[in-house]
């Protein structure tokens, strides 16, 4: 037995000492090449960010150099206060928050309730209604854009923030889907036990389900914040006066020049991108889970 093992071992050693076969060399070289390729691609994805920050720190004459300088020298930090002073940056941020906060509030209330109804109450027709809800995600928003505008104009909401806020109180198919998927992972026995104790459905939701649902609540709140922060089309259609502009609309001010001041434009863009970047990096895990879950389901 021992001899057999020893023989086996020496065999392995002998095999190791011989030169690796051509196939192994090729596959190892391929692995290294693929890794290098991945790094090059990663760098390529990073270049636009690098170029944004680098430009944001350049003086005008450094900005318009050909060939360009990769790194700014000397570093012009003053671009930031100057760019943020050139457009009413504080006001636009405040305006964006005035829309974002009620939108998040409405989204959370409506999507929690609807997600609960679609996942934890056994009733006929439920899954059909849920399929309809999902199907609405496939319909181009351009189809409803014109009549929704006409409707809000008739209501007298044109030129106010109401068209940007109120619809969020009536659910969003994607967030409803995320809540439903999350609620379905909670064992039904918990609900059944609460029912036996005389708890109503609303009581089960608030006392049993919500305390467990913190991760999905935070994720959807952050998604909605990003959505409002980034939204361009709805503010473009419904906001009329410049002092009501959101940050996403206001940034384009820098493009109005004959020859835009790209260093200022990039400084303002950097500051506008920062909040969503920080949020994403902080909550990366739950973001990615929520995105991949749609692909698996779809």
């Amino acid at each position: 037995m021992a001899r057999l093992q020893a023989a086996d071992l020496s065999g392995t050693l002998a095999r190791r000492r011989t030169a690796p076969s051509l196939a192994t060399v090729v596959s190892r070289a391929g692995n290294v090449a693929l890794t290098m390729l991945a790094y090059v691609v990663g760098a390529a994805f990073f270049v636009p960010f690098f170029w944004m920050v680098s430009t944001a720190l350049k003086s005008p004459d450094q900005t318009f150099l050909s060939p360009p300088r990769w790194l700014p020298w000397p570093v012009v930090w003053e671009n930031f206060p100057q760019a943020l002073g050139y457009i009413p940056f504080g006001l636009y941020t405040l305006n964006t928050l005035k829309i974002a906060i009620p939108s998040i509030f409405g989204t959370l209330i409506s999507c929690t309730l609807v997600g609960y109804g679609f996942s934890r109450i056994r009733a006929p027709g439920r899954d059909l209604l849920f399929s309809i809800c999902l199907a609405t995600m496939m319909v181009p928003w351009a189809v409803t854009m014109v009549p929704v505008f006409i409707m809000f104009k008739r209501l007298g909401w044109y030129g106010t923030y109401l068209p940007l806020i109120v619809p969020h109180f009536f659910g969003n198919a994607y967030y409803i889907f995320l809540f439903r998927q999350f609620f379905m992972t909670i064992p039904m026995e918990l609900s059944d036990a609460a029912t036996v104790d005389g708890c109503s459905q609303l009581g089960i939701l608030s006392r049993v389900i919500l305390p467990l649902a913190k991760p999905i609540i935070v994720t959807v709140a952050l998604f909605q914040f990003n959505a409002t922060w980034s939204d361009y089309l709805a503010p473009l259609i419904f906001i009329t006066r410049k002092e009501q502009y959101t940050l996403a609309l206001g940034l384009t001010y820098f493009l109005d020049f004959q020859r835009p001041m790209w260093n200022w434009a990039m400084a303002a863009t950097t500051v506008a991108v920062l909040p969503v970047l920080v949020i994403f990096l902080a909550a990366q895990r739950s973001f990615i889970e929520s995105i991949t879950i749609t692909g698996i389901k779809g």
């Binding site: 060939p67 309730l113 609807v114 109804g117 009536f170 692909g295 698996i296």
Partner: protein, 326 residues
Amino acid sequence: MLTKGERLPQADLAGGYRHMSVGTVQQRHVRPRLSPTTRNLLTMLAFISPWLIGFLWFFIYPTASSLYYSFTDYNILQPAKWIGVKNYTDLMHDKAFWNSLYNTTYYTMISVPLNVTLAFLLGVTLNRDMPGRPILRTLVYVPVVVPVTATAMIWMWLFNSNWGMLNNMLALVGIQGPPWLGSPVWAKPSLILMQTWLIGGSILIFLAALQDVPRPLYEAAEVDGAGAWRKLWNITLPMVTPAVLFSLLTGMIGAFQVFASAWIMTNGGPVKSTEFYVLYLYNNGFRFFRMGYASAMAWILFIIVLIVSLLTFRSSARWVYYGGQD
């Protein structure tokens, strides 16, 4: 443990079991109670009522009125005037309409297959074990969370033909860069290139799908002497076809509605080369106030997207493999 409610009838109806059951029956006659199924149905409907109202208010009503407006001449100020199918026949003779449809088809047909292929290849690359993998995954996804205005501004500056990063990098390898957004020939390819910066979402979908590919399949293939390409083509790709379908569908629906980037970066130019479908629709509705005309365009888009999605779904039965879920 007995509650008060359970003890009471026993005390009252001392007569016994029969008496009690008669009492219950009588009670039912007096106060008809909902069956548990009906009660659940009503509770469920109450819970989903925000969505039900939203569905009627922001989807059914606008979609239906859009259909109605599409048969009218309507500029918001005067009441809508019924003109039959005139909007549709006018569209058929509108060169700008056909141009916008061509631009959108061009953009979709190149951008979507390109991005699905790239996302698949990058997904496979980033699925391998290598140092720095988490950072790379973050890097390729981060552009997706950047607001569209910011993305548009960054890329306008990258595309700048004199001082932009792209042409100067091309100059380093001796290539005279194109004028990008400034040329009717290059403007659409420029926007397509920018869109490849935003494939992080599809990459994530592919990465998730790759987790479900059973390892033994590869081991068996290796025993049979299959190389890396054969494994990629004959095992990996068939196993992730559901992710391909998902990326194709969402990519196409998104590409048909391309708007904000073109609106900010080129405003449809130069020479209408980036006047995409929704851009022209927007101009008709909100610049020229031809709401009826815009609604007709909206319905044509709706039908195009519906047909393309259905055809993709129908064809998927032949090329999507759903065995890899277990």
